[in-house]
């Protein structure tokens, strides 16, 4: 951030800002320069222990301590110095074979000072909420926003093939990297056309019949469909067949809202059964029920009832109900009394408020209404004219970007976000979608900013099903689950790895995180929970029963295999493939580190990688990533383990004999080796090739463990770092920008608040929502000082 200020300040003429610059500069620069600790302690320390390798031309890892004449630049190069601090603190540097070696006390003293110098800010002086770059809706937010705005049930982003979003700071919702290209604008235009063509109905008659598909029934099964129906008389139809050869018939019932309205005898000849029924307007549930099978007391594949469709036809009189998306959009139509313009205005005023997530500028509404009117004058139907208007709304910058522009000055440095902006921050943080009506109304009446209301809303939103976004978007990216798409375990070694298993391992971890959110568990559960979720496929991978049954048996009974599939791989469906149950953690497993998703995405295609697993723990969990391997030192070769008949562990030991590798690997490797009992797709194993697995080890701090469960328990001593890293990631995700040193003040507050409530998820979330960077933003230089920047477009 220093760099930003230094770059901006010379262009800013106002006195306040110059003073601001100096103040920031002094806080991290001048004081440090004259710091006696640097002169008397750290500088000599670096000279004695580090500068043999880290100085001058060809300095190792591009770190040249000799170029630091004072400590002034330390805080500007925060990531680098945090790495230096980490290396010194854990004893990774200087390398073990270097002489002399600093003692532990001296290391800690240096690390502490660097920590304070680089990371601490005086929150009373700095007090900066930062400023987020305007964020484009990312592809997921785009889809979810349209789902909530227009009640669509498809994904325009994937149908149209939006380019993938940029990822920065570990997340895909960061303002600075959400760039926009001409291709993306073309896609937005196409998506808008697709959406309007799908939701706007030109011919209502096509909706006089509604058909629904449902899967087959086994004895005793019920399947339900929901239908939105206009008032009137209808014929209900079901086309059914009992699949068992012969002349047997079985009773199948049709229920409306739980009440039986017909019972049919269904035989081996496919036939349409029908019954008349009067419906009141609204949503109704139609249920088809395989009542009993006189010929068998079990669910049997050959004795299933197949359903071509369930349908209702009608109403006999009057207009049928059109799809919700259409009905919801057309709140007005032109008539003798209502002009096209007036009807368009009635449609677009409320719609644009929701689409833009704030009161639309009257001129913007006027332009849209004018477009509708012009289109109608050109001979388009009102529906089609509205479609064009809607397309314009959906490619407007007010829709595609989360605009925060309504400046409301609170004091000289900060702006309180407008209530509408706060509503969007909340909804995109917790739902990855637009605010709902309750949030918008609270914003409209100016109540949202009150801390009590904010807290209540955050709690309400966390309990809403839409908070699944927090699991799939935040936890998913926090844990790196997206990388699962890219892993390609060797098909020869792992024939059962296929797209279904890939999906299942991801879903396990999502359900697991979802449970932590839903039950509002302490964050520690992520590491040590003694439960998880499995479907039959995953139960087999983990070697446990599925609900008292053998998963292999469930595969043999699966619908695919019964139709003549191959048994050797697991490409087809298991019986009850989609049923997920909560189970006690399988043997040797505890928490997310022992779940197949993490174990797989930290492996290579043909082998496990203790290095990657160790690195993942340091990076993703502890927030303390090891530096990348120095240039020209190739990554350790893990795939040729049989070369010298050595175990992977023995090879890693040889690797660590190289001092420039040892410094980091003696921290990383033991962490990863603790999980060696899990192969590259997370299955338990006792042997790796011909070698028995040895999962014992010793952490860099000297504590010993044997196997993953013990190692996980040892890691719980690192909870403070884990929680803090989690808080940083959560805030990064919530804000859509990388954190800066001044954000440490907010992180301190969040940690304090979370600590009072056992670090439960809701405590983190509420504290983020209440935090200064979430509710405020740094004030811009005054408009006058920006004159020189006001250039016209090319």
């Amino acid at each position: 951030m220093m760099r930003f200020w230094l770059a901006v300040c010379p262009q800013v003429s106002t006195l306040t800002l110059l003073i601001g610059c100096l103040a920031v500069g002094r806080a991290s620069g001048d004081e440090a320069a004259s710091d006696p600790f640097w002169e008397k302690e750290l500088k000599p320390f670096l000279e004695t222990y580090c500068q043999d390798c880290h100085s001058g031309e060809g300095a190792e890892a591009d770190i040249d301590f000799a170029q630091y004449a004072s400590a002034a630049r330390l805080s500007e190069e925060r990531p680098k110095w945090n790495q230096v601090r980490g290396m010194i603190e854990i004893g990774a540097m200087p390398p073990a074979d270097y002489d002399p070696q600093p003692n532990r006390e001296l290391r800690e003293k240096m690390a502490d000072w660097i920590d304070r110098q680089v990371n601490s800010v005086d929150c009373d002086i700095v007090n900066d909420p930062g400023r987020v770059t305007m964020r484009r809706l990312n592809n997921v937010e785009y889809d979810r926003t349209l789902r909530d705005l227009l009640a669509i049930d498809f994904s325009p982003a994937s149908l149209i093939g939006f380019p993938s979003d940029g990822v920065g700071n570990g997340f895909d919702n960061q303002g600075d990297v959400l760039t926009l290209s001409p291709l993306q604008v073309e896609k937005y235009l196409q998506a808008a056309q697709l959406i309007t063509s799908r939701i706007i109905v030109d011919d209502p008659e096509q909706f006089r019949e509604q058909r629904k598909d449902t899967p087959e029934l086994y004895r005793g099964d019920r399947r339900s469909v929901q239908l939105d129906i206009a008032d009137g008389d209808y014929e209900q139809q079901a086309r059914l067949e009992f699949m068992q050869d012969g002349s047997q018939e079985v009773p199948v019932a049709l229920l409306v809202d739980g009440q039986e309205v017909a019972r049919w005898d269904v035989g081996h000849k496919r036939a349409t059964h029908a019954v008349d029924h009067h419906f009141e307007s609204g949503w109704h549930e139609l249920t088809i029920h395989f009542v009993d099978d006189p010929g068998s007391d079990k669910k049997e594949y050959s004795r299933r009832v197949e359903i071509d469709y369930l349908a209702i036809k009608g109403p006999r009189d009057g207009r049928p109900k059109l799809p919700a998306a259409h009905e919801r959009l057309f709140v007005a139509r032109p008539s003798d009394d209502v002009s096209v313009e007036a009807a368009a205005r009635q449609i677009f005023e409320p719609l644009m408020r929701r689409a833009f997530r704030q009161e639309p500028n009257p001129a913007d509404v006027d332009r849209t209404v004018t477009l509708v009117k012009l289109a109608a004058e050109q001979g388009e139907t009102f529906e089609q004219a509205v479609a064009y208007g809607l397309q314009a709304v959906l490619v407007s910058p007010h829709f595609l970007f989360r605009v925060e522009s309504a400046a409301e000055s609170a004091d000289s440095q900060h702006e309180q976000l407008a209530d509408y902006e706060l509503a969007s921050r909340l909804s995109y943080f917790l739902w990855a979608s637009m605010p709902d009506d309750e949030l918008l109304d609270l914003a409209a009446t100016g109540q949202l900013r009150s801390p009590d209301v904010l807290q209540r809303q955050a709690r309400r939103m966390l309990a809403d099903p839409k908070a699944d976004a927090l699991v799939t978007r935040f936890f998913g990216q926090f844990l790196g689950l997206g990388s699962l798409k890219e892993v390609d375990p060797d098909p020869k070694q792992f024939p059962q790895w296929n797209p279904r298993l890939r999906e299942a391992v991801r879903k396990e971890t999502e359900l697991f995180c979802g449970e932590i959110v839903a039950q509002d568990l302490p964050l520690a559960a992520l590491l040590v929970a003694d439960f998880t979720f499995v479907n039959p496929r995953l139960a087999e991978l983990y070697g446990i029963d599925f609900d008292g049954r053998d998963p292999a048996e469930l595969y043999r009974q699966g619908p695919g295999l019964r139709r003549g599939g191959n048994n050797a791989d697991r490409e087809l469906e298991y019986l009850e493939e989609d049923r997920w149950i909560r189970v006690p953690a399988p043997p040797h497993r505890k928490g997310v580190l022992t779940q197949a998703a993490i174990l797989t995405l930290t492996s290579n295609p043909t082998s496990t990688s203790p290095v990657k697993r160790g690195k993942w723990i340091l990076e993703s969990l502890l927030g303390d990533p090891p530096p990348p391997a120095p240039p020209n030192v190739p990554a350790f070769d893990e795939t040729k383990k049989d070369n010298a008949g050595l175990t992977l562990r023995q090879q890693l030991e040889i690797h660590r004999a190289n001092p420039s590798c040892a410094s980091c690997h003696r921290v990383m490797d033991p962490l990863g080796l603790g999980f060696e009992n899990f192969d590259a797709i997370g299955q338990w194993r006792d042997k790796d090739g011909k070698h028995p697995v040895d999962a014992a080890g010793e952490l860099a701090d000297g504590r010993k463990f044997n196997g993953s469960v013990e190692l996980v328990s040892l890691l719980t001593s690192r909870q403070p770092e884990i929680y803090r890293h989690f808080a940083e990631k959560l805030l990064t995700y919530a804000l859509g920008r990388g954190l800066e040193p001044y954000d440490n003040c907010a992180i301190d507050d969040i940690m304090q608040h979370a600590a009072q409530r056992e670090f439960r998820i809701s405590a983190f979330v509420e504290a983020v929502v209440a935090s200064q960077p979430f509710t405020k933003r740094r004030q811009l230089p005054s408009p006058d000082s920006q004159v020189s920047l006001l250039e016209e477009h090319p």
Binding site: T133, D366, Y388, S396, P630
Partner: protein, 443 residues
């Protein structure tokens, strides 16, 4: 100019509402008037990028001049030897760390076409430089339906950081519209086809009425953006400018859509997901051939993989990840697998060149009117070095280039000198390009 614009906006602000009508109406008549300036057999420019470097021993020729020897990885190009030149000695020094520490993969993709050094950042203030293809697009791309096309096979990474603290955009893009705005690439062959050719039927073009309304909508939202811009701070304006210029680019494209397709290519529309990466690559090459043949665009980039890609290539017995293998420590098995991937890429490239060659144009073939650069900005993935890069130039550029040679340029000659030469050759009047220091002699 700029003052007048500001004044106009002020007036608009003052008059308030209903400023939509005039510009909407004003644009109604002015369509169909657009006509593509005809040019016989224009030169087409393409850049094909591959990640993770090569195994140079089996890629780079040793003998210079016309009597050069094809190395095993380029074996499939033997029949095309007189249509290609290998250019050794070129460097992309901005892919080096230059004090920024690790991150060679991100830097290589970012520098490959820009000759600029990317700012090391995980997000804020992402910046590298405008790429050569986009400079060409501005000047040389105006005559065609699309100024340029950007193709790839891998969408961006969905998680985490891509390379040692560099934002993923650096690894995933070689084409940059401006120093801060990467050109997203199309990775789906079917969508790429439809974007370029619609249904591919001869004479097909979107309905004029549909285009008119698209045009009106874009005009309208551009006006939204203009007004919104004033309320925003500097960083936000940059984002809005990306939006604004993109909208303008699409408008220009719509204006050019009135030209019908000259041939029927509807039977060449890819219908299914490609079976493997090889087919994926070939489908994209097909689209490039069609785009050039129909003069839909004259400028194309294609990333065979994102830089640092860890894809495996089971169809040629490579089950390990590409990036992982590229750090081979001279293990003979891994080295040969890297060479196998190099060869696999070259096989597909030969397919592309062959197709260009089989497409007649003027007195010769389409390939004669192309200049295709094939290469990457890492020489050897095991070393991460950025000099003496694997660079191949195919085609004659309409007679501007005499291929069929292995040329060794002095060490550290900027790769951008090649691009500068290419751009100047097609009449793009720029004196320098990224870190270029001058032209190369290619005739």
């Amino acid at each position: 100019m700029s003052t007048r614009q500001v004044n106009r906006r002020t007036v608009l602000r003052g008059t308030g509402a209903l400023l939509g009508l005039p510009f909407l109406e004003a644009m109604l008549p002015r369509h169909s008037a657009f006509a593509t300036p005809k040019q016989d057999n224009p030169v087409r420019l393409a850049w094909v990028f591959f990640p993770n470097g090569t195994n140079p021993e089996r890629w780079q020729p040793e003998t210079e001049g016309t009597d050069w020897e094809i190395k095993p990885s380029l074996e499939s190009l033997r029949e095309l030897k007189s249509d290609i030149s290998v250019l050794s000695g070129l460097a992309q020094v901005n892919a080096r760390s230059l004090g920024d520490g690790p991150g060679d993969h991100a830097r290589s993709a970012a520098a490959f076409l820009t000759g600029a050094h990317p700012l090391k950042t995980g997000g804020a203030n992402m910046r590298v430089g405008k790429s050569a293809d986009q400079i060409a697009a501005d000047h040389y791309g105006r005559a065609t339906r699309l100024s340029s096309i950007e193709l790839g096979t891998e969408a961006g990474r969905a998680a985490g950081s891509c390379d040692s603290g560099y934002a993923c955009a650096y690894s995933n893009n070689i084409s940059w519209r401006t120093a801060t705005q990467p050109m997203a690439k199309e990775v789906n062959p079917q969508l790429a086809f439809e974007r370029l050719f619609g249904n591919g039927a001869a004479g097909s073009k979107p309905e004029a009425r549909e285009l008119l309304f698209q045009r009106s909508i874009l005009d309208m939202v551009a006006e939204d953006a203009r007004q919104l811009r004033q309320a925003l701070g500097q960083q936000d304006r940059q984002k809005l400018d990306e939006y604004f210029t993109s909208v303008r680019d699409v408008e220009k494209r719509i204006d050019r859509m009135t030209e019908p397709l000259p041939f029927d290519i509807s039977d060449q529309r890819p219908d299914d997901e490609p079976a493997d990466i090889g087919e994926h690559i070939r489908l994209m090459y097909d689209i490039m051939v069609l785009a050039f043949k129909t003069d839909t665009t004259r400028i194309s980039t294609f990333m065979l993989g994102n830089e640092g890609s860890n894809k495996s290539y089971p169809m040629i017995g490579v089950n390990d990840g590409h990036h992982q293998l590229s750090h081979h420590q001279n293990d003979p098995d891994k080295v040969s697998k890297i060479a196998a991937i190099d060869k696999y890429f070259a096989d597909q490239f030969a397919y592309f060149l062959q197709k260009l060659k089989e497409t007649p144009e003027g007195d010769g073939c389409l390939l004669d009117n192309c200049l295709v650069v094939y290469g990457g900005a890492i020489r050897d993935g095991n070393r991460h070095d950025h000099h003496d890069l694997p660079i191949l130039l195919a085609g004659r550029g309409g007679g501007l280039v005499t291929p069929g040679k292995h040329v060794k340029f002095p060490t550290e000659t900027p790769l951008n000198n090649l691009y500068l030469t290419m751009l100047n050759a097609v009449g793009v009047d720029v004196a320098e390009l990224g870190d270029s220091t001058g032209s190369l002699k290619l005739s």
